[in-house]
C-alpha cells in the first residue's frame, strides 16, 4: 500500500506522530519531485535554492516551502489548462490580490475524501439536518469558486435538507429558521458558517430579538479567522460561552484552513486546540532564521499537506503566527500535532519616495 493509501485507510487522528511523519515525508518527497518536473516557477525556485537533485529529504523540516503569497501574484500550477476542473479564489478584501488555485479532478477528489475523514470523525457518518449560516447566492457559480463558497460546498456534503439561514442581504430569515429548528428538534443538527458571520448575522440577531433555544445536540462548525472578532474583543472562549448561553449549543468546533490547502483542515478539539489530521502536518518557523522552532515557541506557521497534486501547494509558509503545544498527547485523545493560532504577521509598511499614491488608493477606497 502506498503512503497516501495508508494515511487514508488508517482512522483519523490515530497514527503515532513518528509513523505519520514517515508516511507524510515519503509522499511529500514524491510531490516535490512531481511539481518540480511540472511547474516552471517551482522548478526555478528549487534550482535557485540548489535543491534540484534531491527529492529524498530525510526530515520533514527540509521539504522546501512556498510563501503562500506567491499564489496571489502569479498563476502557479502543475497541470495543463485542459485538466483544470475548477479554480478556487481566496476571499480577499478590496484592493487585495486574491489567490487562484487550480484544481484537477484528482486533487478535488482527495480534498473531498480528506474532509470527509476529518468531519465524520467529529459528527459521525450519518448526514445531519444542516443549517448554513450564509446566503445561497455565494455558491451559484460552480467553475470559479471563492474560498467561502468552496467551504460551504465542502461542508454541505455532511448534511441534508440544507437551509441557508441568511438572505442575499445577509439578513437572518428568523421565522424560517425557527420553523426549521422546531421541525428537527428531536435529532442532532449540523450548523456551519464563517466565524464572523455566525457571530454578527446570526448570534447577535437572535440575542437582540431575545430568542433563546436549547440546541444541546447541535454541532456548530465554523472557520474563517478571528481578526474581525478580536477587534470586537470576542475571543474563542467568549464565542463558545455566548453561543452556548443563547442557543444551548455545546459542541462548537472552529477550524483553521486556507484556500491554498483545501481539505486537510485543522479542527479544534474539546480542549480548544487545533489538530493536524492524517494528511497534514504543521511546523513553526523563526522569522529571524527561518529554521523550525521547538514545541511551545511562537512563530510563522508552515503547513504541509499531501493533497495538492495540481499545484505545488504541498508545503506552504503562511502569514499566520502560531504555537505548537504538543504532539500525540492532547487530553482530547487525538494523536498528532496540536497547536493554536496567535494571529497574523503584520503587513509591512515600507514607504518610499513614490508613495503619495498609496494614500490616494486608500482614501478613494473609502
Amino acid at each position: 500500500m502506498s503512503a497516501i493509501e495508508q494515511l487514508f485507510s488508517l482512522s483519523e487522528y490515530s497514527i503515532d506522530n513518528n509513523m505519520k511523519r514517515e508516511l507524510l515525508l515519503s509522499e511529500l518527497n514524491l510531490l516535490t519531485g512531481f511539481h518540480y518536473s511540472k511547474c516552471p516557477q517551482y522548478k526555478n525556485i528549487l534550482n535557485s535554492l540548489h535543491l534540484s537533485n534531491e527529492y529524498n529529504f530525510k526530515n520533514i523540516d527540509d521539504v522546501p516551502y512556498l510563501p503562500v503569497r506567491l499564489f496571489k501574484s502569479q498563476k502557479i500550477q502543475s497541470i495543463p489548462e485542459s485538466e483544470v476542473l475548477k479554480v478556487l479564489t481566496s476571499s480577499g478584501t478590496t484592493n487585495q490580490q486574491v489567490s487562484r488555485i487550480a484544481l484537477n479532478r484528482e486533487t478535488s477528489l482527495l480534498q473531498v475524501k480528506a474532509l470527509a475523514s476529518i468531519i465524520t470523525s467529529y459528527i459521525g457518518k450519518k448526514r445531519l439536518p444542516m443549517i448554513i449560516i450564509d446566503t445561497d447566492t455565494i455558491i451559484k457559480n460552480k467553475s470559479s469558486m471563492s474560498a467561502r463558497g468552496a467551504g460551504l460546498v465542502g461542508l454541505s456534503n455532511f448534511g441534508r435538507n440544507h437551509f441557508f439561514a441568511l438572505d442575499e442581504n445577509m439578513e437572518l430569515k428568523t421565522e424560517e429558521f425557527i420553523k426549521y429548528v422546531n421541525n428537527y428538534k428531536t435529532e442532532p443538527m449540523l450548523f456551519f458558517g464563517f466565524t464572523y458571520m455566525v457571530w454578527q448575522y446570526f448570534y447577535k440577531i437572535l440575542k437582540d430579538k431575545g430568542i433563546k433555544l436549547d440546541l444541546n445536540s447541535t454541532i456548530l462548525i465554523h472557520s474563517g479567522g478571528w481578526k474581525k472578532l478580536h477587534e470586537h474583543a470576542v475571543s474563542n472562549e467568549i464565542f463558545k460561552s455566548e453561543l452556548n448561553e443563547q442557543l444551548g449549543i455545546k459542541k462548537i468546533y472552529n477550524f483553521y484552513g486556507m484556500v491554498e490547502q483545501v481539505g486537510s483542515i485543522f479542527m479544534e478539539c474539546e480542549e480548544g486546540f487545533l489538530h493536524t489530521p492524517n494528511f497534514a502536518e504543521i511546523l513553526i518557523r523563526d522569522y529571524e532564521t527561518w529554521h523550525t522552532l521547538p514545541i511551545g515557541e511562537k512563530g510563522v506557521i508552515q503547513t504541509l499537506s499531501i493533497l495538492p497534486k495540481s499545484y505545488p501547494g504541498h508545503s506552504l509558509l503562511t502569514e499566520d503566527l502560531g504555537t505548537i503545544l504538543g504532539i500525540d498527547n492532547c487530553k482530547c485523545g487525538r494523536k498528532g500535532t496540536y497547536f493554536i493560532v496567535n494571529g497574523r504577521v503584520p503587513k509591512a509598511e515600507l514607504r518610499g519616495c513614490s508613495d503619495t499614491h498609496a494614500e490616494t488608493v486608500l482614501s478613494s477606497g473609502r
Binding site: 526555478n44 540548489h50 506567491l70 502557479i76 510563522v300 515600507l350 514607504r351 519616495c353 499614491h357 482614501s363
Partner: protein, 413 residues
Amino acid sequence: MNITVYLPEYIGHIDLDSVLTEDFIKQNSLPPFHELSIDFLSALSNKILGSKNLKVYTELIALAYWLRKANITSILSSFKKEIPENEIIAPRGITFHIAPSNVDSIFLYSWALSLLVGNINIVRITQNANEQLDSLLSIIRELLSDDKWALIASRNIIITYPHEESINRHISLLSDVRVLWGGDETINSFRILPSKPTTKDVSFADKFSYTVINAEMFDKSEEAAKLNLSKQFYNDAYWFDQMACASPRFVIFTGARSSCERSSKYFWHYVEDELIRRGKTDSIDIAMEKLVYMYESISKSETASPIELPEKFKSTVLHISKNDIGKFRESCGGGFFFECFLENLEELIPLVNRKDQTLAYFGFSKNELIKFAEKVNGAGIDRIVPVGQALNFSSSWDGYSLLNELSKRINIL
C-alpha cells in the same frame, strides 16, 4: 474645500480660500538671495541642531548642516558665478510643492531653495505626519512666531488635505511652479490638471539606483578601507529602509570573475558585521516581506539565486546574471539587493535606463567615471557619487539644477 494648516501657524480645519487669500496671492516676492532668507535658514539650522527631540533623526541633522550659512552661501556663490553679466535672476512666483508621504526630508531641501530664490511657497505634506515631521514642523512654527521672520511667515505655508482633485486643481491654477515629489503616479495625476500656460513643472519620477564596486580595487584595499566601505554602504542603503530613490537596490561588481566572487564574499561579510555592530534587526513584517520577495524573484528567473539564505543580520542578496538586469527593477526594500558581476564599467553602458538616478561607486577614478558618463550620454543616471553619499542632497537633483529651475533669468542687453 477644507484643509489643515501647519505653517506659519497651526489651524485645524479651515477653508482653503481663507488661507489662499487675495493678499497671499498678490503679495510681492522677496528679492532672490535676500539676506533675511539666508538668515532664516541659518536660524532653522541652529534650532534643529539645538533640539533634543530631533537629535535622533540623522537625516534632519544632515539637513541642518546643509542649511548652515556657510553651506548656503557657497551654493549661492557658485550659482551666481554661472550667471552671465547681462542676466539677472528673479523669482518665478508661487511655487506649489507636493511632498512625498514618507519621512524623506528631501522636500525641505527644495522648499529651502525655492525660498532662497524668493518664491512664495505652498507645500502640501502627507496626511499622516509622523513624530519626526511633527517635531520638525513645531520647531519651524516656533521660529516663525518671531516677528523678525514676518516676511517669511507671510510667504510660506505648509498644509495638508485628503487627496482631493479639486484642491490640487485650485492650487495648480494659482501656481507658477509645481514641484512634484512622490513618483510617477503623483506626477501623472498632476499632469492632467490644468495650470497656467506659464506654469512650469519640476517633477521627480520614480528612480532606481545602484552601487558599483571595482572588485579589483576592492581586492587590493586595506582592511580599513573595506570596513569603511561597508559603513558608507550602510548609510546609502539602510537609511529610510532602502526606500529612498537614491538608495541602492543593485550592487554591481566589476572585474575578473574570480575577483568579483572574492569581493562579493568579503563585501557582504563586512556589511553583515556592520549590521551586527548597529544591532540592525528586521521586524517580523519586514523579514516576511523580504522572504516573499525573494521567492517571487527566483520563481521568475532561471539565473537568480540567493547568495545565502535569509537570516538575521544578513542582507538578502540575489545574484543574477547580466542578462537578467532588466528584469529586476523593483525591490521590496528593508535590505534586499540584487547582485551582478560585470567585466568592466563599459558593460554597464547598454544596461543604463532612463529611470536610473544615482550610481554610487567605489574604486574608480574621476576620469573613468567622466568617460563612462560621456558614453552613457544621458540615457540615464543623474548623479555619480562615492559610496556613502547617495543620500546627500545636492542642489543638482535628478538632472535638474534646482536653483535654475526655481528661478528665472531676465536678459538685459
